[in-house]
Each structure stands twice: as C-alpha cells, then as structure tokens.
Symmetry: C2
Subunit: 412 residues, 2 copies
C-alpha cells in the first residue's frame, strides 16, 4: 500500500486478490528499467517505422465517409461489426475451425487474458504457467489471488512430460489440480522458443484428463521468419478446453488496442458476458476498414521481412560479441532472444554495470513465478535500430566479460 495508507484505513476495502498482491509493483512497472544514455533492448515494442499511420488515417477517413452516423456510436459501423468475421477468416487460415459466435472482441490481448481470468478463476485456484512466462500475465494472475505454479521449458517449449508428472503427483497426493494453464506456444515471450506439435497434442490430452482450461496466447504467431508453421493449440483441440487469445498489437500496432478470444461457444457465451467494458467502435471501425482493404496481409508480409532481418542481425551480433559460457535462444519468429549467462552471474545485479556500458535489458527473474532465472535476461530485436542493436549487444558482451571474468568471444 505504501505511504498513502499508513494508518491502514483503506486496506480493508480491497478484494481478496488485491489484498494478497497490493505490495507488488504494478503492470508495466518493468518499463521503468531504462537509462537515458543506454540502448534499451528491454521492450517488445514494434519499431516506430512499422506503424501504418497513413493507412490507418486513410481507413479513418473512409470510415467517417461511409458511416458518418455510426462510426462513433455504441452500435458501431459496418466495418466495426465485420471485424469478428475478419478474425474468423484469419483463424480459419490457421486451421482453426470456428465461427463468429466463438469470437469475443476485447480491448487488446492483456484485456482478453483479464476477461479469461475473471471468467474462470477464484482466489486460491491454481494456475500453471511456463517458467519463464510473460510477466504481464503473471501480474494479472496475481490480481486474482490465485496460486501460480511454473513448469520448466527447453528448446521445444513447455516441458509437457514434467507437467504430466506433476499433475499425476498432485492427483495422487490429493493436492489441487490447475484450473487453467497459460501458454505462449509460438515464439514464446521471453524465450523465443516454439512448442513442438507432439507436445501440443499431449498438452491437450492432459487438459482433457485433468479438466483444465488451456489459455493459448499467440500474439506473435503470424510473425514467423524461419521454419514451418506448427498448428495452433486451438486448431488441434477437440475438447473445447483451449481458449485462444490474439491481438492486432503486433500485426498492426499496439495503440489500436484490439484483441480477441476464440473459444467453444459454451465458454465464449460466458467470456462475452464478463467482457462488459464495451467496445471501442471507433478503433474497431478503423481496424475493420483497414483489414477490409487487404492491408493487414500486406503489412504482415512487410513485418515478417523486416523483423526477420532484425532477428538475423541480432543473432549475428550475439555470435560475435558474447564470451564463452553464454547461451541464447534462436527464435524462428516473434521479438525476443533469451540469454543465459554463466551460473552465478545475476542479471539484475549486473544491470547498473550494463547501463554504464550502454545497454539495458530485462532481468530473467521478472518472468519467473518463483523469482528464479537470475542468470538469465531477455533482449528484444523488435524496437531498436540496427546501429543500436550493434552498440547494445557489444555493451552487453563487455559487461558480461567484465562481470563474469571470462575472456574472449563465443566465436573465438
């Protein structure tokens, strides 16, 4: 509660979930990790030139021209109301057999996760996450007063065998089973890895056996630069237990704050009822108009090319600059590279030295429900220029060499 409630007079007003988590830093608190002179490799922000300003402005003009009476209304323009069918069409291209009744439009993906939390979770419920996982989701879960358990990952994503063993033990010992499992199967945040098809199928079997919801968060799925697509969990699912979260934040721009859930109708009915915050019909109309002109496909193709070059450049710079004993993931898509420093090096403690050298990043413990991963860090190639990437990775290499007392570079 901090300094504002020293006498505690407000504290008893809060819900159980808020009370349990009120001393934790808020959503987005990690954004304070910056240093004015340093290159920031911290954030999964799209690069500024990627924003389709002109096309969205043209879409806004067309929207007001075509629907002057409904563009800003509660009920929304035709373009806004056709957005669910755009979502269905794109989902079907990904092999997900769904219709508009299964789509719940939200104010972004984080809001979609929040709606899923409110729909499924009570205080004390168990939520399983990949460890590490998206820290924004961790913060959301904590607002609900739930217990969060992490399951490890490797180069093929979530360790589903470890999950299966844990579930079996929990059942045998009469301990709580999860209500919901949260996963980012494609180009995972923060590790960049992709869950293999075999593990996806096994994960769905486990959901059926133990009766939990699989919340599939797929913001990066369309941004693949190498390799072959793996079917989404929603495409593989027959159980109705997979709830898919997606967003235009990475394929158009974060500022349009438009996301959605796709779920079995029986779940979608309740998700829609909980999603009471109302629609930004203005933005939905602009985005709908933009998509109706085929702009989204063009934009995604451009982004795949641009981010792919960035990804290659960052991996090349890491290869050139990192000393021995440092390992990193090689993502086929998305925004992130996960770096493992030699054991004993603490990425959070190293941060001031790194900032002095000229780079900041996000320390790995932020992404772990149990505060582990202290020798890891996340860097992103999505936002910085090539020049900044070069300077940032070089500064990171110097910092690690100095802190870890290692010599030479990985490529030596």
């Amino acid at each position: 509660m901090g300094t504002n409630d020293t006498d505690g007079r407000f504290t008893r007003l809060f819900s159980e979930g808020v009370t349990d988590s009120m001393d934790e830093p808020g959503y987005g608190s990690w954004r304070s990790i910056s240093a004015p002179e340093a290159v920031s490799l911290s954030f999964g922000f799209p690069f500024p030139a990627s924003f389709p300003n002109d096309e969205l402005l043209a879409a806004a003009e067309a929207l007001f021209d075509e629907a002057p009476e409904t563009a800003l209304s509660y009920v929304g323009s035709g373009a806004a109301n056709e957005l669910a069918s755009v979502v269905v069409e794109r989902a079907r291209e990904r092999g997900i057999d769904c219709d508009e009744d299964q789509v719940v439009l939200t104010n972004g993906a984080t809001h979609a996760i929040d709606v899923a939390c409110a729909t499924f979770l009570d205080p004390g419920d168990l939520v399983v996450v990949e460890s590490p996982t998206f820290m924004g989701a961790l913060k959301l879960f904590r607002n609900y007063g739930v217990d969060v358990a992490g399951v490890g990952m490797d180069a093929d994503g979530l360790d589903v065998a470890a999950l299966a063993a844990d579930l079996e033990r929990r059942e045998a010992e009469g301990r709580p089973l999860p209500k919901l499992l949260y996963t980012i199967p494609d180009f995972h945040n923060p590790t960049g890895v992709t869950l293999s098809r075999e593990r996806r199928e096994r994960l769905i079997e486990l959901a059926e056996t133990y009766g939990f919801v699989v919340l599939e968060d797929d913001p990066y799925g369309e941004l693949r630069y190498h390799g072959e697509r793996v079917p989404s969990l929603a495409a593989l699912d027959d159980s109705g237990l997979v709830v898919r979260v997606n967003t235009f934040s990475k394929t158009i721009a974060p500022g349009v704050r438009t996301g959605w859930l796709i779920a079995h109708e029986a779940l979608a009915d309740q998700l829609r009822r909980v999603n009471a915050g109302g629609r930004n019909t203005f933005t939905q109309g602009v985005v709908g108009r933009y998509c109706a002109e085929g702009r989204l496909e063009e934009n995604v193709a451009d982004l795949v090319e641009a981010y792919g070059e960035r990804r290659d450049h960052m991996l090349a710079r890491l290869e050139a600059e990192m000393p021995p004993g440092v390992e990193w993931s090689e993502p086929d898509g998305g925004f992130f590279v996960w770096v493992e420093l030699p054991e004993g090096v603490d990425a959070e403690e190293m941060l001031p030295a790194a900032a002095d050298e000229g780079v900041v990043y996000l320390p790995g413990h932020l992404f772990h429900p149990d505060d582990s991963g202290r020798n890891c860090l996340r860097i992103s190639f999505s936002h910085v220029s090539f020049d900044e990437m070069e300077r940032g990775v070089a500064a990171l290499g110097r910092t690690v060499r100095s802190v870890a007392n290692v010599e030479g570079a990985a490529s030596d």
Copy 2:
C-alpha cells in the same frame, strides 16, 4: 448454461461469480428490445448528428503529423499522455481537488466500474444501489457474485434517510454492511433525478461511519439544461471513500470508449494495478488532441443546447399525450425520462402492444435489482429526431390509454 453445455462439462470451469449469474442475459441484452417499424425511445444513445466526425478526423491527422513514431505505440503520444491532465483540469472546474496521480484512465465508464468491482469486491459482499439504477452496472455487479440491495429514490434522488435506517438495522442485527454503494447522482439513469446537496453530504457521512466506498458515476453531469449545478460527491468528500467514474462517451462520443476513475491516491494505486488491460493510445491521442484544441468545451456547449431542446420537446409531448394517472420525471439534464404508469399496468407486458402502436421503450423492472418497478418505463430523448419523438410519445399515449382503460390526456 443453455443449449451449449447440456452435459455440464464446462460448467465447473467457471469462477464463483460467473457460476452464480451464468443464466442471466448478458450486458447489452436489453438492446434486443426493438421493433423495425416502431420508434425506439429505448436507448441512451447520442443523436447521430452530435458526433464530431470532422473534428476527430482532424485530430487524428494532427496526431499522426505531430507524433508519427508514438501515435500507435505502447507508450503513446504526448497528446495521449496529456489526457490525464485534461481530466484533472475539468475535474477541478467541477470543484474536485485532485492531481494526475489520482486519475486512472480506462476503456470507458463501464470498464471503469468493472475495474472498481475487481478492486473492491469479493463474492458474497454487499453492494447497495439506487432502485432503479443503470442496468449495465447491475449486470457487472452480478458477474462478481455479490449481493445487491436497492434503496428507493424520490425527486431528490436516493432516499438517504432510508439508507441510514437500513444501515443502522443491519449493524444492530449483525447483518452484512455494504462494501460499496453505487450512485448516479446527476441526472440519474433511468429516472433523470439529481441527488440534493444535503443528501450528498449525509451520504458521505454514512460512508465514513460504516466504511464503504461510494462509487459516483457521473456520465451526464456536464449536460445540464436547467437549474444550478450541485457539487459532485467527489468535490464534497474529505474521507477518500468517494471513487468517481466518468467518460467522454456522452461529451464526445461512445465510440471513443475512453473513461476514467478519480480516487484517493491509496485507492488509485490499486485501481491502476487492477486496470491491466492496457491503453488504447491511438484513441487517447485523438481525444487528447481534440481536447487540446478546446473542442470539448465547444462541443459540450452545443450538446447542452441541442439536448435541452430535445428534453423540452419530450416533456411537452408527454404533457400533451399522456392520459391521467401517468406521471413522469422532469430532468434538469442527461438523457432520460422515467414514466410511471397507473398501478397494475405492467410495462413489459404492454411492450408488444406499444410496438404495434409504433413505439418501444425499456420496461422499468430491468433497472431494479429485485425486478420491481413493473409499472414504470424509461424513455430517452437523446437519440431520436423531433418527429420520431412526437410519433413515439403519441404511440405511447395511445397504448397506455388502451391498456389502462383510461380516457383523455393529462392536459385535459
């Protein structure tokens, strides 16, 4: 659950609040009350010509021109980030002493109420509302599995003396006291009445005595057509227990879906933490740019004139068309008139006959937590044309005369 979950396999997945309320119609279900050939007096929608399309498009152009790299980003443009100060400035004009730390921007007022619910409410908590009240808020509260108790109203708003007596009885009998009281003090939805200053002061005293949050929802406060402003609850409050909800939905347009909370810092910190859904920086930038040019004040002045004429016209038509035994509120602002039919006439049962005569409205029981108010209905002058208002009120008069078997008009 309905037809989609006949075997109940999904039902156990839901949270307690959702389980308790899952058979209820969803948010906005009342919008299905319409008939193609009938005039709809049902909805609190702004009239289409009120939407500042050209000004918002110009604001979008200026936004992209001034902030091409941040207009669509996570962090947002200067215009988006100055919106909290616009909110503070307008709140101060209403006598509310606050600063930006106390402002939490949300995706609309309903979302703001939802954030307040998530922050303060656990299943089983007691929420007190005016009876009748905004049905959207009733639906939200039900999602949280709370108990909702209504307190009656008269021409001066919430019956605060009845509330005081109820609180005293609850305390004496050891029954639960409210965690939160929800009120629309200015131009109440659905009744149109305004809470008197004396009652506002007494209500805040009761909140202090019994320790509950007062959630002041004020979407219509700037739209006053007659009489003198009454200070908002937030302006009268020294306890820190008043949380104010507001929105640009009625002063700019519903489609911009931009609202906010103003609260004591200790509460704002937690409201902000719960409000994790992220910001629509695009819309916030467009709205911020629009406000920065002084457009909001101009628009509000235009709206006050236009809605004031509509209000006068509707009251005149009611006076001309309603038979004896029918009473209605005479709102000084806002969008709504509350009509009380003779005892024994059921507004829901009358609806098909009204639709045949050429008008639809919202039956009063929708607004009552206990389904009472069956001889009441809400009509709105905000959305229809003058001609539609004339035809709609005339049709309503014919319907009441026919159903209630009364003769003549109120003005006879």
